[in-house]
Symmetry: D2
Subunit: 289 residues, 4 copies
Amino acid sequence: MAAPSPDAVRKALSVPGQAGRVVRIGPVEVGAGPFVVMAGPCAVESGAQVEAAARAVARAGAHVLRGGAFKPRTSPYAFQGLGEAGLTLLAQAARANGLPVITEVMSEAQLPVVCAHADVLQIGARNMQNFSLLKAVAQVNKPVLLKRGLSATLDEWLLAAEYVLAGGNGEVMLCERGIRTFEPALRNTLDLGGVAWVKRRSPLPVVVDPSHATGDAALVLPLALAAAAAGADGLLVEVHPAPESALCDGAQALTPAAFSDLMSRLGPLLQALGRQLAAPAAPALGGAA
Amino acid sequence: MAAPSPDAVRKALSVPGQAGRVVRIGPVEVGAGPFVVMAGPCAVESGAQVEAAARAVARAGAHVLRGGAFKPRTSPYAFQGLGEAGLTLLAQAARANGLPVITEVMSEAQLPVVCAHADVLQIGARNMQNFSLLKAVAQVNKPVLLKRGLSATLDEWLLAAEYVLAGGNGEVMLCERGIRTFEPALRNTLDLGGVAWVKRRSPLPVVVDPSHATGDAALVLPLALAAAAAGADGLLVEVHPAPESALCDGAQALTPAAFSDLMSRLGPLLQALGRQLAAPAAPALGGAA
Amino acid sequence: MAAPSPDAVRKALSVPGQAGRVVRIGPVEVGAGPFVVMAGPCAVESGAQVEAAARAVARAGAHVLRGGAFKPRTSPYAFQGLGEAGLTLLAQAARANGLPVITEVMSEAQLPVVCAHADVLQIGARNMQNFSLLKAVAQVNKPVLLKRGLSATLDEWLLAAEYVLAGGNGEVMLCERGIRTFEPALRNTLDLGGVAWVKRRSPLPVVVDPSHATGDAALVLPLALAAAAAGADGLLVEVHPAPESALCDGAQALTPAAFSDLMSRLGPLLQALGRQLAAPAAPALGGAA
Amino acid sequence: MAAPSPDAVRKALSVPGQAGRVVRIGPVEVGAGPFVVMAGPCAVESGAQVEAAARAVARAGAHVLRGGAFKPRTSPYAFQGLGEAGLTLLAQAARANGLPVITEVMSEAQLPVVCAHADVLQIGARNMQNFSLLKAVAQVNKPVLLKRGLSATLDEWLLAAEYVLAGGNGEVMLCERGIRTFEPALRNTLDLGGVAWVKRRSPLPVVVDPSHATGDAALVLPLALAAAAAGADGLLVEVHPAPESALCDGAQALTPAAFSDLMSRLGPLLQALGRQLAAPAAPALGGAA
C-alpha cells in the first residue's frame, strides 16, 4: 500500500480500459471479476439481531457482513447507533460466521476503535467531501469503501477517492447508492449510467447499494440484478432478521428469505454475462468451524 | 380499443401486481413477456441511410423500426427533420424489411400524415404534458409510446398516460429515457428504479431508451442489459449505419455491428431471467421475402 | 413586427448590456424601465369571480389582467377550465376595468379563439418546448409571454424564445416561474439568479411569477420584492377574491387585500432602486369610465 | 448560552412568527433587525492581501471579516489554504480594522486553533451533515454559521442546526449559499424562496451568500439586493483586492469598488423595506484607532 505519486494516480484514474484494481478484504477480492456481496443490517441493534443477520447472510452466500454502529442520522433525536458496543457485537457475529466486516466511520476520533473491529472502512454519502476524514483514512492500513455523495458529480466522486489514493491508501472501492433528484416516489435515484461511466474511466472497483437507492425492499431485487448487468463489481445490501421491527430503515431491508432469493438469481444472471459470484469467504478468516 | 371509464382506468393503474396490459404492433406484442427491441436512426436523413439502418436492425433481430421525420430540436437553426418525405422513406424501408414503424408526432396537425405511415405514435419527452396532443392521440386507432418528460415525476408520467387511456385509447406503452439531474457527465440519468417502481404500480408495458439516457454509444450496451434485468418490456435504441456522419445525435448511435452484439447478449441474459426475446416481426407484415 | 433575420436575432440575444427590447401591450410597455404587474386568478371560474378579481387588481394598480380558460392540468380528471366561455368572461371583466388580458394558449387549434379575446398569449411551462406551438404563435400579431420550463436550462429557454423571434414575432417576454429541484417544501425553486443572468444576456423583458414558484401565498410578497430587486421587469401574480374556495391553486393565490399590500410596498422599493411602477393601464383601452 | 432542552429547541424551531433569535458577534447583532454584512476573501493568501481586503471592507461599512485558512477543495491537488498561519494573518487584519472574524472549521482537530483566532465558526456546505463536527461545535462558546448543504432540504438544514442547538450552543445562524440543480449556467441556484420559508419556520437568523450561489461577480449585486428584499438578516460576500489574481474563486469575488457600490445601494433599499444597515462594528473590538 505504498503511496502512488499524485501524477501516477491521476493518470491511472483517467485511462479508460485499464486493468481494474483489485481490493482485498481478507480472502475476498473485489474488482477481480467475480461478484462480491456485502450484506447485513442498517444498524447493529443487539447481539441476537446481528448474529441472526450474520448467520442468514453467510448461509445465503454473502462475502462480507455490513452493519452500522455509528449512525449518521438526519435528526439528533433519532437512534444514533450503539457505538463501540455495537462494533464489538458486529465483529463477534462476523467471526462466528466466517465473514469480514464493513462498517461506517464518521470521524477521525472514531478511527482507532473502528479499525480495531472492521476489515473495511465505509465513508458515508454525507461525508464524501469531509476532506479531513478522507485524509485520515488515507493513513490507515484498511480498505475504504467511498459512497457517492447525494449530489456529487461523478468527477467529484473520483476526486474524493483521489484524496485517499494520493494520501497513501490505494485500497479504495466506490459505492453508488442513489443520487438526489426531483423524484419523490423513491428515496433516491440509482445512477447505473454513472456506474457504467465510472467503470470506463477509473480502475477502482464499483459496488452498488440498491437498498439506500430505493428505500423500498420490493425494488432491491430488480435493481441488484440491473447493477450486475450494468457491470458493477458487487453489492451492498441491507438484510434484517425482522425488518418490520428494525430501529432504522426497515422499509428497505430484505428478509433473510428475500436475500436468499436474490443470491439464487444472481448466479445464473452473472453466468449469462460471462461472470460468476465470488467464492464464499473462507471459514479460516474467523471461523464458523 | 373501447374507452375504459375513468374510474376503471385509475383503478387499473393503481393496482400493483395486476396482470400486465399487452400492446400489439402488428404481429409484435409488447408487455406479454417476451422482450421487444425497437431500433433505428434518430432521424431519417436519406433513403439510402434509412434503408441501410432498417436492413441492419432487421437482420440483427429487431422487432420495430424507429426513425424521426419531425424532430423536436432545442434550437430553431438545427436540422428539423425531413418531414413527410422522411415518413415515406421510413415506411418504405420498414416494409422492405418486414418491420412495423414507430415515429414521433409533435402536433395535432401532423397526426393524419404520421398515422398514414406509422404503426406506433411516439410522444416525445418534451411533449409529455402537451395535453392537447395527448387528447388528440387518444382519438386515434394506433398504439402510443409515451416518453417520460425530462423532469416528470413517476406520478405525472402515469397521469399523462391516463389522458390517453381516459380519452379512449388503451394501447399505451411507457418509455423511460433518462431524467434531468445535476450530473453533467452524461446527457441524462437513466432511472431504472423508476422502471421497477412503475412495473409494480401500472399494468402498462415499459420500454427503456438507453441511447437518449446516456448520449454515449459506449454506455448503451451495459444500460440495455441493466434495463432488461430491471424488468423492462423492451428497448428503444438508436442505430445508424455511419454514426460519425449522422445529422443528429451521432454520439449515441450504435453501429450495426454494436447493435448486433447487443442483440446477441440480450438473449442469454433474458434466459437467465426466465424470459426471452420476442420472435422477429413476421415477414408477412411487409415482407423481406 | 417584421421578422428579424436569424443571425440578427442570435446576435441580439448574445450581446450583454444591449438596450432592452420593449414589448407593448396596448398602452402598457414591458421592458422600458417601469415595472409592470399582471394579476388575476389562476382560472376563470365564473363571471362574478373574474369580475371581482379584475376590479380588485385594477384598483390596486395592476396593469394587465391574467386568468386561465384553457388549463393544463396534470390529471385528466381535474378541472380543465371553462374554455371559450371562460375567455369571454375574462375579456368582459378586463374591458370593464380598463385592463388588457393575458391568458394561456395550449395548442394551435385554440389559437384563433384565444387571439380573439387576449392581448398577450401565454405559453405555459409544460409547453416551453412544444415547438409546433412556438412556430404557430410566431405567425400571430400578438405579444407572447414564454414561461420557463420546469427543468429548462437558461440556454434552452432563450432558444425556445428564438423559435418565436426567428419565426417572425419579435414581441416576446420571458417569465421565470420556478424550476424543479429536489426540495419538497416549496412547489418549485424560484431562480432569481437565472433572472439576473438572462437580463445580462438577452434584450428580452423578464417577468417573474412568484405564485407558481412557491405554491404558497405567504411567500409571494417577499419573493415579489426580491424579483424587483434582482432586476425583473414585472410580475405575474395570482389573485383570487376568495382563495379558500378557488377551483385551482388556491393555496398560492393572494387575497385582494394582500395584493393591495404588495402593490403598496413595491412602489417605495422600486424608487430605492431608481425605478418606478408603470402608470396604470389607460381607461381608454377598455374603459372603467 | 445554556443548553436548551431538546423539546424546547424543537418547539422553538417549529413555531412560525416567533420572535427571532439574536446572535451576537462581539458588538454586532445578527437577527435583531438591522442588516449585517460579512465580507472578505475566499482564502487568506498573504498578509498584504488579507490586510488590503480587511481595510476595504471595513471602510465600505462591513461588519465582520470573512476569510478562509482551511479550505475544502474538490481536488486534493488544489490550493488547500494557509492553515494556522492564515488564521493568524486573518485575525491580525481584522483587529487592525476593528472587525470580528468568521472562518471555516473543517474538523474537530482544527477546532482549538480556529477558536483561538475566530469570533464565528463557519460550517461549510459539504460538512452540513458532518454530525461529529456539529456535535463538537455545540460544545464551544462561539457562534456558528451553518451553511446549507448543496442538496440539503430545508428540513435537513434545520435538523442539522438542531444538532448544534440540542448539543448546547444556541448561537446558530443559517446561511443559504445556493443549491445544486440541473442548471449549468451558474455555479448554483440561489434559493431565496427557501430563505423566506425558513424565516417563517425558524427563529434563527438567515444570512445569504450570493458569491458562492452564482460563481459570478456580475450577479452578486442583484442577488444581494434580492436577498435583502426577501427578508434575509445579512450577507456573506467575497471581496478580494485583486480578483483576477486570486488563488481561489476569483471569478466570484467583488473588487473593493464593487463592494463599496453594493453597500451604498443596500442602505436605501433597506430603508424602503423599513429596515437599515447595522451600525459598523465598534473600533473598541480590535481597534483601527
